[in-house]
Amino acid sequence: MDNVLHILVVGLLVGGIYGLVAIGLNLIFGVIRIVNFAHGELVMLGMYGAYLCYVTLGLDPYLSVLLVVPAMFVVGVVVHRLILQPLHAESSMQIFATFGLLILFQNVVLALTRGEGYSVPSKLAGLTIAVGDIRVTVSRLVIFAAVTLAAIALHLFLQRTLIGKSIRAVTQDRQAAQLMGINVERTFVITFGIGSALAGLAGVLLAPIYTLAPGIGGNFVLAAFAVVVLGGLGSVAGAYFGGLIVGLVEAFAGFYIDPELKQAIWFLIFLAVLVIRPTGLFGQVGAEEIGFREQG
């Protein structure tokens, strides 16, 4: 029983990380229909942003959120305007372009850091909290809290604000939204900015936990893809709960089957979901086909 509880906690905390990375990815994927292969690199840039704030300003990573997240919003806006917007009708070229971005970002950082691994210390992050036998570090709890808050905030933003409503309208029917006077291109730019900012948030919060390396984004982004498909295209709740499910599956499979196979198991689940219910657990039925047809 103790074991089960322990694995549950570990799984939920890991799931929080996946969820946080997946929320931004899912927003971009769901609204703009771009498979953003460079999303992990946006997370990586967020991590290095936190490092930069620490080295130059001596900021604790949790404070540098205030600087890095807006900066990543700007990065997202620039990337979308310069690269993805001109390619809006050609999704295979968009895949190609985001892969080019992935290679570019990774290697610019590699060239700048000369492959040295950095770490970002935080006084807060190292602390542990013990509940009974189970000890958890503050850094992971912060991520869990952040993903929960981010999911709620994003949900309210999409439901209540005018921009959020226009994003939802564009998701449902691009042409109808345009006919209703919504500036679709501007909505896309804002969406990509928000997605990028969320990736930046994930990066900053992950910085105290992992040693920084240019290729680190790949560790999260493949899981995040699985989360997106599992949870459902464009669904905030889907990304949140999908992340937790993937984290739990990974933890339990790692313990009861074989830690080496844990990834294979969540990928198999992901494949099963793709085949049985392509819209994901929380997605709207048919959303994945309508969106693509519209674009053609």
């Binding site: 994927f29 229909r33 771009i34 498979v35 690269i83 001109p86 390619l87 050609e90 999704s91 295979s92 070229m93 968009q94 895949i95 190609f96 372009a97 892969f99 080019g100 971005l101 992935l102 290679i103 570019l104 970002f105 990774q106 290697n107 610019v108 950082v109 590699l110 060239a111 000369r114 492959g115 240019p214 493949l222 893809f225 699985a226 498909v229 074989d258 080496e260 196979l261 990834q263 294979a264 990928f267 198999l268 992901f270 494949l271 793709l274 085949v275 392509p278 994945e288 086909e289 693509f292 047809r293 674009q295 053609g296």
Partner: protein, 344 residues
């Protein structure tokens, strides 16, 4: 939607539509292959360039194979690394355990992939566009995990080593030009297969399915059967290339075989940059990218880690932005412009 633009598909000059005669196809193929082989003669004993050419031929062939299901079939697979790896492991394993000559040893992997390919893609054919891409990406990751796990078959993370013992039967040569010729033969085979395919009934069906699945079905085409056959062909050609790759590098491990930027996604990149859904596109892409990449790596390797890849990344972005239809599309555009001017 993941497909090249519609006007390109109905262009009467497109050899994919089979509107040119067999004689011209044969002529074009002969001229093209000679042009492709010429650099090897020029490279002579300069092994730096021979090595680059060997990779170029191999990856041109692999991109041609990928293009069958992805370009002509509109199924944008990112999971071809699995077939590549199956081919590589089978060939190496057969040689190591049973001393089976790789000339024969590449075949079982190819035949297996003709069955495995459709089997793994079958459940995902319903998915469209990016969804199919992500699902096949997942296949690649599952393959990677299992290749690491199945120690007794794949040698685990350490991989398999084929000892160097030169001999024609072992497909192990001391002169690297021999490898280049083997890869060239592979490229020629892939091209012939694609040209024959695209002039066959199956080729027309495949284009019809890509352009409009519902309309194709209404016209009496079994969409599923067409996709299965094209996948079988594409997967087995890819496995063939994987087997040859194993014999060339002689050390294969999961990290190399399932690498996305170097294998699984590379096929797609080469085809996209050359011109997806055309016969020449993947070959053009490979002849542009592989030498460029190798050259950057060799000349800028000393400038610091990652510098050559920064250029590759930039190049990809610029190519995506300014050559939407790839090199083949750009050439086609110039050709039509020229024709247009001549007519006036």
């Amino acid at each position: 939607m993941l497909k090249p633009d519609q006007t390109a598909a109905v262009d009467p000059a497109d050899p994919a539509l089979g509107l040119i005669s067999w004689q011209r196809v044969a002529l074009l193929l002969a001229v093209g292959l000679t042009a492709v082989l010429l650099p090897l003669a020029l490279a002579g004993k300069d092994y730096f360039w021979v090595n680059i050419l060997t990779y170029t031929y191999l990856f041109a062939g692999l991109a041609v194979a990928w293009n069958i299901i992805a370009g002509f079939g509109g199924q944008f697979s990112l999971g071809h690394g699995v077939f590549f790896a199956i081919g590589a492991y089978t060939t190496a394993r057969l040689l190591l355990d049973w001393q089976i000559s790789p000339w024969i040893g590449v075949l079982p992997g190819a035949i297996a992939c003709a069955v495995i390919g459709p089997l793994v893609f079958l459940p995902t054919f319903r998915l469209k566009g990016s969804f199919f891409a992500i699902a096949t990406l997942a296949f690649n990751e599952v393959g990677f995990v299992f290749a690491n796990y199945l120690d007794s078959v794949t040698g685990g993370p350490r991989g398999l080593q084929v000892p160097f013992r030169a001999g024609l039967i072992r497909m192990t040569f001391s002169d690297p030009r021999a490898y280049a010729l083997v890869m060239f033969a592979y490229l020629a085979t892939a091209l012939v297969v694609v040209i024959v395919l695209m002039r066959s009934r199956l080729g027309y069906y495949l284009l019809a399915v890509r352009e409009d699945e519902d309309a194709a079905r209404a016209a009496g085409i079994s969409v599923r059967r067409v996709k299965i056959r094209a996948t079988a062909l594409s997967a087995s050609l890819t496995a063939l290339g994987g087997g040859l790759f194993a014999m060339y590098v002689r050390t294969i491990d999961p990290l190399t075989l399932f690498s996305l930027p170097d294998v699984g996604v590379k096929f797609a990149l080469l085809s996209l940059i050359g011109g997806i859904g055309t016969i020449t596109g993947p070959v053009l892409g490979a002849f542009l990218i592989i030498p460029l990449e190798s050259y950057f790596r060799a000349t800028l390797g000393g400038a610091g880690p990652g510098v050559h890849l920064i250029l590759v990344g930039l190049f990809m972005l610029l190519a995506a932005l300014f050559m939407r239809r790839g090199v083949a599309g750009a050439i086609d555009h110039l050709w039509q412009y020229w024709q247009h001017r001549r007519r006036r």
